[in-house]
């Protein structure tokens, strides 16, 4: 849900260019924290988790228009530096399949990596505090999804003036077009042609809540399954 599904050409140029610049800067800083050998050794794991995220994102739960991101579980397994690179790769592949625009990759990387990094950090924190796997994973996932969805809403609302410009742009642009509409009608329509962001947020949050609960439960059950079979992957013993 926190993935920005906006196509190319909808967000203002300054916004998506800034997204790329900030994503590259953050990526460069985060990758400095990881040793080169560790990075090379974990690249195949990164590829596999990124592939799982791509597959998760392609399974749409139709009634609530939701797909699982699996970002939190990937964050838990990969750690904060690698999850950032993984989200970059995932967004690039998803964009190639029309799942969000190519120009939105930078912003999507920032939003999704907030989810992954926050999920990782909250999971470690809750595990340290509660010492119980189920609530630690569930609350970490739920809160990470909540925050990243608000980050996504923030990004979408930053482009509001641009959407309104697009709605009002009849007769402008590189190729002009005029439909048989009287000028006075146009003025009368202005109030109606405002972008209805509140409606969008209301729909998103109500559907999102069901999705966060569902993804929280799915992530918890996956982590429990992994904990039963390959506990070493969760690297929990270091913290106990």
């Amino acid at each position: 849900m926190s993935h920005i599904h906006l196509p190319d050409g909808v967000l203002p140029i300054w916004l998506w260019v800034s997204g790329f610049v900030v994503a590259i800067l953050v990526g460069a800083i985060l990758l400095r924290f990881i040793k080169k050998e560790d990075l090379t050794r974990r690249l195949p794991l990164l590829g596999m988790m990124a592939a799982a995220m791509v597959l998760g994102a392609s399974v749409e739960i139709v009634p609530i228009a939701y797909h699982v991101n699996l970002t939190v579980i990937s964050g838990i397994l990969l750690g904060p530096s690698l999850i950032f690179l993984a989200t970059f790769v995932v967004n690039m592949i998803l964009a190639l399949f029309g799942h969000g625009g190519i120009t939105v990759i930078g912003l999507n990387t920032l939003v999704l990596s907030i989810e992954g990094i926050l999920g990782f950090s909250l999971f470690r924190l809750f595990w340290r505090l509660l010492k119980r796997l189920t609530p630690a994973v569930f609350f970490a996932t739920f809160l990470a999804l909540l925050v990243s969805t608000f980050a996504m809403i923030g990004v979408v609302s930053l482009g509001t003036s641009h959407y309104e410009e697009l709605i009002h742009q009849e007769g402008k642009g590189l190729f002009e077009f005029h439909f048989s509409k009287e000028k006075e009608d146009h003025h009368g329509d202005v109030a109606e042609k405002k972008v209805n962001l509140n409606r969008f947020i209301a729909i998103l949050l109500s559907l999102g809540f069901i999705g966060w609960m569902m993804e929280g439960v799915i992530t918890t059950l996956i982590v429990r399954y992994i904990h039963r079979l390959r506990p070493d992957l969760l690297r929990l013993e270091r913290q106990v």
Partner: protein, 208 residues
């Protein structure tokens, strides 16, 4: 995502002039399409761009069963109907932008083998990123194979039924967990064989 292997097959086996065109030119073409999508703000311009892309699609003899892939992103564009307050021209504009982008990308993927795309990207992007991209792309196929086996097990355990939500969530989670563990095992094996073949940070493509 299941169509991915078929797209790869088309990209390798296709014989049209677009298949023979240099990958570099095709990627430059895709960048120009993106530039058009970002800058064009009128319906006629976008209609023209979409018509050109559709012509290329049919001229390249890409099978019609691939065409629905270009329509898939419209699912996500539907939220604009709500954002815009049902402004038909705005919705049409957004839908055309979406269709131009998706048709361009499908054209690129169906006419260019992915190692060629990654080779071109490797010249402009950091090698670490391109290697991660390559490994992810490869892993999707590994996971799809595991998924096929897992699906049978999932169906035998009842699959997904809205009447039994808890059991369904359990089934799906176990399937994903199984998928991830199998995938990680496969990734470890893949890494070992890559190291045996001399892998050090960067994947070298044929012809480099």
């Amino acid at each position: 995502m299941i169509q991915l292997s078929y797209l790869d097959y088309l990209a390798v086996e296709g014989k049209s002039w677009l298949h023979h065109l240099s990958p570099k030119l095709k990627i430059i073409g895709m960048v120009l399409v993106l530039l058009g999508i970002v800058t064009l703000r009128g319906l006629p311009g976008l209609f023209l761009l979409y018509a050109i892309l559709l012509t290329l699609f049919f001229v390249s003899r890409i099978p019609l069963r691939i065409f629905p892939l270009t329509l898939y992103p419209l699912v996500f564009a539907f939220l604009f109907i709500f954002i815009s307050g049902f402004q038909i021209l705005f919705i049409l504009l957004i839908f055309l932008k979406v269709l131009c982008g998706s048709t361009g990308v499908v054209l690129l993927l169906a006419t260019t083998p992915y190692p060629s795309i990654f080779r071109v990207l490797g010249r402009v992007l950091p090698s670490l990123f391109v290697t991660a991209l390559f490994l992810t792309y490869r892993s999707i196929f590994i996971l799809l194979n595991v998924l096929e086996e897992t699906q049978h097990a999932l169906y035998l355990r009842g699959g997904f039924q809205w009447r039994h939500p808890w059991r369904s969530l359990n089934n799906i989670s176990n399937a994903f967990g199984h998928l991830i563990i199998k995938g990680i095992d496969a990734s470890e094996r893949m890494y070992e064989s890559m190291v045996l073949r001399g892998f050090k940070d960067k994947i070298h493509y044929r012809g480099e």
